[in-house]
Point group: C2
Chain length 185, copies 2
């Protein structure tokens, strides 16, 4: 490929803007611009793309693309696919947004909730045997631990539901409360 055909240049303005904005939004989500842009490009692309095309399209270094793809694959929202007649690996993104969200949630839980739960369990067991800790302080540690444990279980269970069910639950929104008769009592 001698002449650099920048994919992003031949894309319609609306798509180009999507990729750029998605990259910016990544900041709010704790992912860096490169990763977010690459994900956006693969999400909107109708065909799998090889790493060097991604690199040229977005103007990021080849090595950066490699590392970013690795991370996206760790999130399980991008996967490697073979393309007939091309030795290069091609990559494609998950296009089901609910599945996407679930995968991201799984990683978030692993990063944010699991370590917290472990740490709190440890603090708690220390506190139980420590006369220097007041009853109120012990109570607070216990509450924090119980809450984290609740969230841990809830995430796991929601995670395990089929996307179809999850969609319905979310779409029900607060009507769920009336349906369950939880409002009173």
């Amino acid at each position: 490929m001698t002449e650099t055909t920048k994919t992003i240049d031949v894309m319609p303005e609306a798509v180009r803007r999507f990729i750029l904005h998605w990259g910016d939004m990544g900041q709010n989500w704790g992912v860096n611009r490169s990763i977010a842009q690459i994900h956006a490009l693969l999400y909107i692309s109708e065909t799998p793309l090889p790493a060097d095309v991604i690199s040229e399209s977005l103007g990021v270094a080849r090595s950066n693309v490699s590392n970013s793809l690795k991370e996206l694959m760790a999130f399980k929202i991008v996967r490697r696919v073979p393309v007939a007649g091309d030795r290069r690996d091609h990559f494609t993104a998950e296009t089901d947004v609910w599945e996407l969200a679930r995968r991201i949630a799984a990683v978030r839980k692993a990063r944010e909730i699991d370590p917290a739960l472990e740490t709190l369990a440890h603090c708690l067991s220390d506190a139980e045997g420590d006369a220097g800790v007041s009853d109120e302080q012990r109570r607070r540690l216990r509450e924090m631990h119980a809450f984290t444990s609740d969230m841990d279980r809830w995430y796991s269970q929601m995670q395990a539901l089929p996307v179809r069910t999850l969609t319905r639950l979310v779409r029900l929104g607060d009507r769920i409360v009336a349906l369950l008769g939880l409002a009173k009592s």
Copy 2:
């Protein structure tokens, strides 16, 4: 206060460890150590503390404490309280963990979902009028927008429920599916 009575030193080991670990865990949550430690200290402290005591207790600069408290107050999980006979502002943390989670979720929604929704709506309206965007691409943008919109609504509605109800919903976990008869169909 000539002699530096470091609060954290007179605290039992279990409590000290909680504060330190909470500070580390903050990294996973996207908050810096100072803020997380200060929050932990206030959460576990049975009495409101003034800024300089916090500063000495944790060994962080007074200015840092000031800024961190400002941010914690922006999250609405720490508040200023007056203490009789002391001119200094004292600070105390929300001790209801569910309320705490709700406040944090509100800020997260404002930072992560609201801007995304706005951006996607914009991209979408661009795409609708752009013949260069394929039907499939338009569909993907629409799906992403619809999903974000669903999450936006869901967050808002859950946010508005009383803590009591929220607790029950979470504790129900996936049993909710059976209760609603959502499993089949």
